[in-house]
Every structure is written in C-alpha cells, then in structure tokens.
C-alpha cells in the first residue's frame, strides 16, 4: 500500500510538473510496438543473405517531456541465427572428410533501449509527439549465443554470453491518426561497443574466437543502419 501511495504521488508530481507541456492534445504517454530491419547491411559486412531482413520487434513507451522532447524506453527481442566457421570432420553431399565447414548458432537475447527524441519545432513546426524528429538512443544488449546441436558434438549448448553498449543516432517522422494512434518511420545509424565491453562465460576453447568474431560482427551490422516503423497508442 505504501509503495502504491508513493507511486501515485510520483505520478501526480510528474503530471503537475508537465502541466504546460502540450503533448498531443494533452496526451503525453504512448505505448508502442516497433519493427525494424537491417536490409542488405548484414550481407555486405557479414555472412548473411541479401534479402535477409533481420526483422526485430520491440515494445516501448514514450513520454513527452516538453514542447519538443520525448523520452522513451524499449525492450527488443533478438532471435537470430549466426553462421560459424568450424574446422573438423563434416559430411556434405555424400562427402565425408576433415576441413572447414559452416554451421549455425542461435543468437538470442534482448536489447534494452532508452532514447530522447528532439522534435524540430523551430525548423519544421513539429510539436512532440507530432512531426519530424532527431533521435539519440542508448541500447544495452544482453545476448546468448547457443549451439543448435551441430557445433558441439558433446551436446553442450552455451557458446557465449555477452553484453554490449550501443549509441544510435537517427531521424524520423511521427504522425497521429484518429487522435489516438501514432505512426512512426525512422532511419537510424549506430555504433556498437563490442570491442570495449564483452565477456564470455564459456571456457577457453579453440572455437571461442570464431564465436566471438561472428557474434560481434552480427551486433555491429545490426546497429550500423536500421530502418524502422512503429505503431503506438496515445494512452494518457
């Protein structure tokens, strides 16, 4: 009960602090679902197909802080497959032998994002959350790389687990439809800090370097250039 009262007090305080913030007709909080893709980049820099969209889905919420600024948080699920190169015995097209061959691993985890959107009021007349914006986003990625059964013959699953920080910049536009629904389109470009912060739980194995290379390459290409859309609901 005590926590509930604290929560209500915080909420009331928040609302009175932003009483003069226009929002969209007074509505300042949005709940959103987003989808983004990284077309072609993965194929250019990594070992992916040209038409591999690498779609990601996220949920989030934005709150209008001022006439031109919104702050948002999001959580995005990562559920991909990466290609690993392995040296050993393999069998392919009726051929059995020793050599290099490609196998796959699961790339699974979450991206936790926090962003600020700056609506360009002076140059375009945008009023948060309506109109054109610049976005600055911080993303923390928490990823598990696991064997699908073809990497370790021993049945061991975990290949790697790592976290990474990313800084993303972008621009986009957001519309409001039917006074309740928001529609957003954006283009973002970001840098991933995999070289600065990563850790592995796996033992020092011969294969670890390959897993590390493939994982970080995937992370890097994922953030380099993304195109996204989002649909939201102006809650209150």
């Amino acid at each position: 009960m005590k926590y509930f009262i604290y929560l209500m007090l915080c909420f009331t305080g928040f609302y009175s602090a932003f009483a003069q913030v226009p929002g969209y007709r007074g509505k300042k909080i949005m709940i959103k679902v987003n989808a983004k893709g990284m077309p072609i980049i993965g194929a250019l820099l990594g070992r992916e197909n040209y038409f591999d969209l690498n779609a990601r889905y996220s949920v989030g919420a934005d709150v209008v802080l001022s006439k031109s600024v919104t702050a948002g948080v999001s959580i995005e699920q990562v559920n991909d497959i990466i290609t690993l190169e392995k040296y050993g015995n393999y069998s392919k097209s009726g051929y059995n032998g020793l050599g290099k061959y490609e196998t796959q691993a699961n790339f699974y985890g979450y991206n936790f994002g926090a962003n600020l959107k700056f609506f360009t009021h002076k140059t375009s007349g945008s009023i948060a959350p309506f109109g054109r914006f610049f976005i600055v986003e911080y993303v923390y990625s928490d990823i598990d790389v696991s064997d699908d059964g073809s990497f370790y013959a021993s049945g061991k699953k975990d290949l790697n687990h790592f976290g990474a920080h990313s800084l993303v910049l972008g621009l986009g536009s957001q519309k409001v439809l039917f006074n309740r629904i928001t529609f957003e389109a954006n283009v973002k470009a970001g840098l991933n800090s995999y070289g600065i912060h990563s850790f592995a739980k796996t033992e020092k194995l011969l294969v670890q370097d390959e897993v590390y290379r493939a994982s970080t390459s995937k992370m890097g290409t994922d953030f380099l250039l993304t195109v996204g859309i989002g649909i939201g609901f102006l809650a209150f």
Partner: protein
C-alpha cells in the same frame, strides 16, 4: 344656435390632425433618435447554403453541346463565383430584411411587375459600404451599396440602376466576360499589337460593350414601366458628382474657435480634374466615359420620356430611405477611418436634424478619431489621396492637417463639450483628457489655452481630469507585461478561416477542399477548447440556422469591430466599442479570437529531388525514403490565433505557427492545441 352635428366632425378633424402631427413628429423623432439599420427576420437561404452546394447546382446550367474549353471555363467560373459571392454575403456588411433592402425590393417588384419569372430569381441586398457602386452576380443576387443609395434623388433613378444590373444578370455578362477573358489568355482571340496591349484592349472594349448594353437595356426596362427614363441620364450625372450632400456652409468652422466662433477661411488647394483624367484614361477603363453613356441613353430615350413619373411609391418613402442611407454613410466613413468625410456628412445632416443624438455621437467619435489619428503621420499621409478626391471635404482636411496635435486634442474636447450629453461619462472623452493631461497641458498655443479656460467652467470635467493618473490612461494598460500573465479562458471565436492553395496549379485556390476542411475545423476548435477548459463559443455562418439572426448580427458587429481596430489602430477606441462589449458581456468574455489555417502545396526544386535520390542511392537501403521525398510535394501550413481584448483593445495574444508538412488533422490539432494552451496561460 349651436349645431350639435358639427361636434363629432370637429372631434374627427381634431383627431385626424393630432394623428397627422404625431406621424410627422414620429418621423422627425426617428432621425433625432436614429438607430443603425440592421438585418431582421430569418437568415435567407443565400447566406446559409454552402458554396460547394451552390456550385453543384450551377454546374447543371452548363449545356451539353458546348465545347470542352467552354465547359471547363464555365465550371471554373461557377466555382470561383459561388465562393466569392458567399465570401461577400458573409463578410458582415450585407444586410437582409432591413428597411433599405425592403425598399429596394419594392422598386424591383414595380420594375419587374410584368416579368414575374425574372423577379423570382432576383434577390437584392444592401451592402454597408460607402463606395458608390452596385453589382450583379450570375446567380441573381444584386448588391447595392449604401454609398450609392445615399446619392440617388428619385425612385426612378434607383429603378434605372436596378434595370442596369438586371441586364448584367439576364445577359450573363459576368460569365461571358470571364469566358471571354479566358479565351484571351489562351490566345483564342487576338488583335494585333503586343500581347499585353491586345489583351487589355480586348478586355476593356468587351466590358464597355456590356456596360453600354446594360445601360440601354436598363432604359428599355424603364420604358416598359411608369418610371421616368431620364433617370438614366440623371444617374450618370450623379455618378460624376462627388458626394451625396448639397454644398452648404456648416458648423465645422464654429468649433474651431470656441471663444469667438469666427468662420474659418478655407484655403483653396489644387484639385485634380477627375473629368479630364477619366477621358484621358478611357481606353484602360472597363466602363465607357460618362458623357458617351449619357449621349447613348439620350438617343435611346428620344421623346419617350414625356409624362413619366419620378416616383411611383410615395415620395416620402424614398426620401426616408435616402436619409437613412446618408445617416448610415456617416458611420461607415468612421469605420473606414475616414473621419474627415464623417465630419462633413454629420455636420451637413445636423443642419436638418439639430437634435439628432446619433449625429452628435458620430461627430464626437469623428473628432476623437481626428485627434488620435493625427498623431500618426503615416496614417495621415495615406488619407491624403482619399481626401483629395472630394472637392469640398478637402477644405476640412487642409485645415485639420495644419493643426498641431495639441490643437486637435483641444478641438476634439470642445466637440465633446458641445455635442455629448455627458462628456465625463464618455470613455473617448476621458481618453482625450488623459492625452491632454499627459502631453498638452503645458501647451501655450492660444487655441489650447482658450479650450483650457473653457473646460475650467465645468466642475465635473475638472473632477474627471483630477482622477486621471499622470502618465497613464483611463482605460486599462495596453500590451503590458501584466497582460501576458493573465489567464485567457473565455474567448469568442469569430468566423474561423481555412484556406487551401495548390501553388503547382494555375488555379491555385482549392475552394471545395477548403470548405470541407472548414466544416471539420469548427469541430476541431470546439474539441480543443473543451480539452483545455477554455470557453470558446464559435460565431460562424457555417454553424448557423435560419433563426440565428441575432448571432448573425453579433458576428457582423464583431467582425466590423476587429476590422476597424486593425484599420485605425488599437490605441483608438473603436466606433462600436460599447456595443461590442455588450455582446462580449453576454458571452461572459472580453476576448475576441480570430483563428485560421492556410495551407500551401508547392513544387520541390528539381535539384532537391535529384539530390535526395542520389544521396539515398549511395546509402541504398534508404533509397525508398529518397523516392518518397522526390515524389511528394512540399507543404507549408500556417495556423494563426489572434486574440483582441475588447476592454482595452490590445492584442492579448497572437501567434502564427509554421508547419512544414501537410495540414493533416493531426498536424492542425497538435498546433491548435499548443496555440490555445499558450493563449490560455497558466492556471
């Protein structure tokens, strides 16, 4: 012996004379306590039908066998014409079911008593405008300005004017001229010479042909009635004269010197010859020269004018009508800021109606306007051109323009002392006193000193003067910092505007889309105001029912008020200040809001389009964005909110928001909400 039978007859005669006397007295009292004419009864359908509906029905008038060009041109004409006529009908200056309009319609009845079909399709309305003009539209609406009615001398002259305008309607002159001009533009008609010269010549000569045809047909129409056809010639002579009043000396000069009341010697100045100017520029005019028109009309009449009447209805009705028009005219001059013409008109009329409180009020307001306006050199200069067209009025201007501000202030104070029943209670008088106390009290000019001495004889004026704070005004502060902090949560929104333009097209105004958006805009304003808890009743013809005549009148007053404040400046108390504040009090507000949206579709420069495709092509995953950018037009949307405080006439709030995107509902809502939030201020 006493004849008892004579007693009832005497009684009857006595009653009859009493009745006659009262009738005359009441006639005289009408003008001594004159009230401005106004619309009455239900609002006519003409005013409330949407322009787009009128356009839809007009399109049926286009014949199927016409060429593609003519069909297209006529459609465009009906579109533009219907929107323009509605704009005119709803600008607050057109009256309906008013005494002057009723009289004009009676003359129309007489004129068209043998043409019942035509009569049914004609509606005549009087326009509150001092300009001497009347005009016909293609849909049977005739407009007659008060400026013209005030100048006419006989009922037959009015009949001729109406006959002339009816010809324009019957012969579809406006439509034909539009089609003709479009053909010229498209090069379908040519006439040697340079293109511009050729077009100008063909345009004006066609217009002149139509005017001459209207004159001669007007005469034909008159000849078919009991009206005197010579009225046509008289109307032309009247159009050549400059103002509706007889040249007489009046009281103006007496005011100039309060002590001696000596006549002021007018200084004659050069007067540009209007006649000469007209002849020399005839080829560029759309109307033939007056002399040519008079000749043609005389030829047409021949000997047919004998024995015809100048008046069919009682002459008194006509005289009352023109007098009302002249009374209205004096106020219309004021609303336009032309205080010199207002002074002239009111002084002239006051000679016939020396007890008229209406005229005295006009005089007070005109002298007040004169004293306040003369402080503004720029405004003074713009008045010169207007004034120099009027031979007699220029004398007043010449005199006033030579007076120092202190003298003008003294002159206006004197006018209030002479004409106002209780000067100290008048807000304008107090404003003049404040100017006097703060700026001119130390002035040693003899005229100012004379007025000072005069004012000293009135204790109530001295008491009022003492109450006025030094370096302040009796009305509330203007544009002060205090105003910015005030909460504005009750406004009267008058006639919101929504206009769309597509600058990529030759015909840029998007009339139908604009009207559709305007209907939604009313709802957007109402919802936004409700969300912000701002009381915002919207006075707009779009939302009115035929029975909303009072709202319609209120809207007219408020619109004219705002126009006057913007014309004369917000430091001058407007002519209808008191009436406006009464209306505002009814709505429990003291703020009038003008709200509108203008949106423009534009071409993007080719370089921008190519650049977008090239750049996004280099970073090719973003190419769809580049293609989108290159294919959609560029937009600019402007939302404005302007709030006038009716108590101190200051601009309490103004904001124009520029949005560089389409006027979607979301964009307009977002901008409108933000503007009204800022306007409301902190609660």
């Amino acid at each position: 012996m006493k004849n008892s039978n004579n007693i009832p007859r005497l009684k009857l005669c006595f009653y009859f004379f009493i009745f006659l006397g009262v009738s005359f007295l009441s006639q005289a009292q009408d003008f001594n306590n004159y009230q401005n004419i106004q619309s009455n009864g239900n609002i006519p359908e003409d005013f409330l039908t949407l322009s787009s509906s009128k356009y839809q029905s007009d399109q049926k008038r286009i014949a199927g066998d016409e060429s593609k060009f003519e069909k297209k041109t006529k459609r465009q004409f009906y579109l533009e014409s219907n929107f323009m006529i509605n704009e005119l009908l709803l600008n607050g200056k057109v009256l309906y079911n008013d005494p002057l309009g009723n009289y004009v319609n009676k003359v129309l009845d007489e004129l068209l008593k043998n043409k019942a079909g035509l009569r049914k399709s004609i509606r005549a309305y009087v326009v509150l405008s001092p300009i001497v003009n009347a005009y016909a539209t293609d849909n049977g609406t005739l407009f007659i300005n008060i400026g013209l009615l005030a100048k006419l001398k006989t009922e037959a002259q009015l009949a001729f004017v109406l006959g002339h305008e009816l010809t324009h309607y019957e012969k579809e002159h406006v439509l034909n001229r539009y089609v003709h001009n479009e053909k010229l533009v498209k090069g379908k008609i040519t006439f040697g010479g340079s293109e511009v010269e050729s077009q100008l010549f063909l345009k004006t000569s066609y217009a002149k042909e139509q005017e001459m045809e209207a004159d001669l047909n007007g005469v034909d129409l008159i000849l078919s009635t009991s009206y005197n056809p010579l009225a046509g010639v008289q109307v032309m002579q009247i159009l050549g004269s400059l103002h509706p009043f007889e040249a007489r000396t009046h009281e103006y000069a007496k005011l100039v010197n309060p002590e001696a009341e000596v006549n002021f010697a007018y200084k004659p100045i050069f007067l540009d010859s209007i006649h000469e100017k007209e002849v020399s520029e005839e080829e560029h005019l759309t109307h033939p020269a007056l002399a040519t028109r008079i000749d043609k009309i005389n030829q047409k009449i021949g000997a047919n004018g004998l024995g015809k009447k100048d008046f069919v209805a009682p002459e008194q009705d006509f005289l009352t009508m023109t007098k009302q028009a002249q009374f209205e005219l004096s106020k219309l001059y004021l609303l336009k800021g032309n205080y010199i013409s207002a002074l002239y008109a009111a002084h002239q009329l006051l000679q016939d109606y020396p007890e008229s409180t209406y005229l005295k009020d006009i005089l007070c307001k005109a002298y007040y306007l004169c004293a306040k306006s003369e402080q503004d050199i720029e405004r003074k200069l713009t008045l010169v051109d207007m004034v120099y067209q009027y031979k007699d009025i220029q004398y007043i201007y010449e005199h006033l323009s030579q007076m120092e501000p202190a003298q003008l202030n003294a002159l206006a104070l004197m006018a209030f002392m002479k004409y106002s029943p209780k000067p100290s209670a008048d807000i304008r008088f107090r404003d003049l006193l404040a100017d006097y106390k703060n700026n001119y009290a130390e002035d040693t000019a003899s005229y100012v000193v004379a007025v000072q001495n005069h004012l000293k004889q009135y204790p109530d004026v001295q008491a009022t003067l003492a109450k006025i704070p030094k370096k302040g005004k009796d009305i509330k502060p203007k544009n002060g910092k205090d105003d910015k902090k005030k909460v504005i949560d009750n406004i009267i929104v008058i006639d919101p505007r929504y206009k769309k333009f597509d600058l990529r097209k030759k015909k840029q105004a998007q009339y139908i889309a604009s009207e559709k958006s305007l209907i939604n805009y009313h709802e957007q304003i109402a919802t936004t105001a409700k969300l912000l808890r701002v009381q915002a009743p919207v006075l707009s013809p779009i939302e009115m029912k035929p029975t909303d005549v009072q709202k319609f009148q209120e809207l007219s007053v408020l619109k004219n008020y705002v126009e006057e404040v913007f014309t004369n400046g917000n430091d001058i108390i407007a002519t209808d200040y008191e009436k406006v504040n009464q209306i505002c009090a009814k709505y429990k507000s003291s703020h009038i809001a003008l709200i509108g949206t203008y949106t423009f579709h534009m071409k993007k420069p080719l370089g921008f389009k190519i650049g977008a495709i090239v750049w996004t092509g280099i970073v090719f995953p973003t190419l769809p964005f580049g293609i989108y950018y290159a294919t959609v037009p560029s937009y600019r949307t402007y939302n404005y909110v302007m709030v006038v405080n009716t108590l101190d006439q200051s601009i309490a709030y103004k904001d124009i928001a520029e949005l560089k995107f389409k006027d979607s509902k979301g964009a307009v809502n977002a901008s409108l909400y933000y503007q009204l939030l800022k306007m409301r201020g902190k609660k």
